[in-house]
């Protein structure tokens, strides 16, 4: 499939706009449809498309497995860290109001950070799942 010029060129043209659209969905999520989960899946789909067209080895060269697992856990740590931080500042778990100078800016910062953590985790879980399933050695039958 990596020898097909149409697919190769299409993938290289589409790769950056897909990630850009994922970031748009991530940070525009408070005004339109979107949020961390959807953005994570869209960003992951760019890397999955690259892995499908150029092969799993090239995909792992682009996005190594240890970086993948590191970012996967980092997203969860960001999510939990925001919650614990608001606990240390004297409120309940994940109560954003105390994070900023005013409750409004606190909500803004909190939602942005939590959605960022969710997006990071979801995208890396998707890539890890694809790598795990595509790495199976199966018979060439059918």
């Amino acid at each position: 499939m990596h020898k097909n010029p149409i697919l190769r060129v299409c993938t290289k043209i589409l790769f950056a706009p897909i990630i850009l659209f994922g970031l748009y969905v991530q940070f525009h999520g408070d005004f339109g449809p979107g949020g961390g989960f959807q953005a994570g899946v869209i960003v992951a789909s760019a890397f999955i498309l690259y892995s499908i067209v150029f092969g799993l080895d090239k995909g792992k060269e682009l996005f190594p497995s240890n970086v993948n697992l590191f970012l996967l856990t980092l997203g969860g740590i960001i999510y939990g860290g925001v919650g614990i931080t608001s606990m240390f500042l004297g409120e309940e778990f994940l109560s954003y109001n105390v994070l900023g100078s005013s409750p409004q800016s606190g909500q803004h910062i909190g939602i942005l950070l939590v959605e960022f953590g969710v997006g990071l985790t979801v995208s890396n879980v998707m890539i890890a799942l694809f790598n795990a399933f595509a790495g199976f050695k199966s018979g060439k039958g059918n």
Binding site: M1, H2, K3, L7, L14, I18, F21, V25, G32, P33, G34, Q38, I42, S45, I48, L49, S51, I52, V53, F54, G55, L56, D57, F130, F133, A134, G135, F136, K137, S138, G139, K140, G141, N142
Partner: protein, 88 residues
């Protein structure tokens, strides 16, 4: 006008469904499913404008993207038998 276009999308979608059910080979079916995805993208965009909520365009773009990637994945799975290997 949007309603007429939506109805046309529905009718062509039903015709494509008939093609999917009757499809002679696997590749006919894959092509038909890809066309059905295109019709659904059109339908989502039209529905968004019909109900006065143009935010549906975002969802239409995502649907077109997933449709493209899904078709490539299914084609690769059928032609090489695996998602990961490079075709020799």
């Amino acid at each position: 006008m949007y309603l007429a276009a939506l109805i046309a999308c529905g009718i062509s979608g039903i015709l494509i469904l008939v093609r999917i059910i009757l499809g002679k080979t696997t590749f006919d079916r894959i092509l038909a499913i890809n066309s059905l995805g295109t019709i659904i993208v059109l339908g989502i965009a039209l529905h968004g404008f019909y109900s006065g909520r143009p935010e549906f365009l975002d969802i239409a773009i995502v649907y077109a993207l997933i449709n493209f990637i899904g078709t490539i994945a299914v084609l690769k799975l059928f032609s090489t038998g695996s998602l990961g290997d490079i075709q020799k």
